[in-house]
């Protein structure tokens, strides 16, 4: 029972700081569950990959999946409700006072600080997954010190990045292609 409440409180807490969409939320989840040793880095990367490839918002999918992995069916349902609850209440409050909210200078200023920070956060969250995929969780800075990395993973990563930035091919196809390539490559 205590674990269940702990799980719910983590999702409630991160939900109110999840500005800037699903990937920032993934960053929080990574810290909360991987750093604490509740889920291995490899399992976490797989959970996020599946959450990305299945229908539904990645934040909700990942919450449901993590809830299920840690506390079963009840954990899945409660985690997905918990991650949605406080932002939902905030939207209702804002809806009531929408005109005042929209013209509030202080809120606008705060958001001008948060938005660029989210860009930095998201890129580093991606770097974390690169470390899981290519370096078995080692830090990229250790490459300078001669840490081992998997050159096949680096090439697949670089190719995916190139396709995503330079072509209009959608990310779901890039992921499905990598899924197939992975079987032969690794």
């Amino acid at each position: 029972m205590r674990e269940l409440w702990e799980l719910i409180s983590v999702f409630l807490k991160i939900s109110i700081f999840s500005f800037g969409g699903g990937y920032v939320m993934i960053g929080y989840l990574q810290h909360e569950f991987v750093s604490r040793g509740w889920i291995s880095a490899n399992d976490f990367a797989n959970i996020v990959s599946i959450s990305q490839m299945t229908p539904g918002p990645i934040g909700i999918n990942a919450a449901t999946f993590i809830g299920f992995t840690t506390e079963g069916y009840i954990g899945a349902v409660l985690a997905s409700v918990a991650v949605a609850l406080l932002p939902f209440i905030m939207v209702l409050l804002v809806s009531v006072f929408y005109d005042k909210y929209k013209s509030n200078k202080f809120i606008q200023n705060v958001l001008k600080g948060i938005r660029p920070a989210c860009v930095g956060l998201i890129i580093i969250v991606g770097v974390g997954f690169f470390e899981t995929a290519a370096m078995d969780g080692g830090g990229i800075l250790d490459i300078v010190k001669g840490a081992a990395f998997d050159i096949r993973a680096v090439i697949l990563f670089a190719a995916s990045l190139f396709v995503l930035l330079r072509t209009k091919i959608s990310s779901i196809w890039v992921m499905l292609a990598s899924l197939a390539i992975g079987i032969f490559l690794f």
Partner: protein, 198 residues
Amino acid sequence: MKEKTEKNRLLTLFLVFFKVGLFTIGGGLAMIPLYRQEFSEKRDWLTDEEMVDIIAMTQSLPGVMAINSAAFVGYRIGKVPGAVIAALGALLPSVIIILAVGIVYAGVFQNEFVIRAFRGVQCALAAMIIASGIKMIKNTIKSRFAAVVAICAGIWIFFDSTAIIYVIIAAAAAGAVYFGIRKKDKPASGSKDGEAEP
């Protein structure tokens, strides 16, 4: 009779947002055309201005966009019951699909092929998240201030992954202080105006 149309509205809300939850892959602004089609073209429920409000509001609050926009649209159309029903509609597909996937996950991941396949997907996942960050730069980093905040946030979180909440709070404070002070100092913003820089 009135009660019946009310029930129909709530049912429609539920179904439309169930669809939103089901077809959001990766999430975000991809939902806007669907909202326009369902709420302003098929039904006269939202104006174009309200559509813009959905984007502005959901991007300025924390949380998942599909749920937040469900709450916003649901409230406009059916007050609190409307908001609850719309949000449940958006939530339900995820819960059903992920539970189904989660049940097979443990068994499937003993399989050697699946493990290899997912090593491939992890590479693409890292690329995809970094690519989405890079694509955000164009629309978000339009001033020296924004660039400094983004770089500081990135460096901070790189060296201390436990600090995400503090990074967000610090960035919020930086925005409040920087733009708060600048308003008072320079009422007529000139070429040094951070936001106006190319």
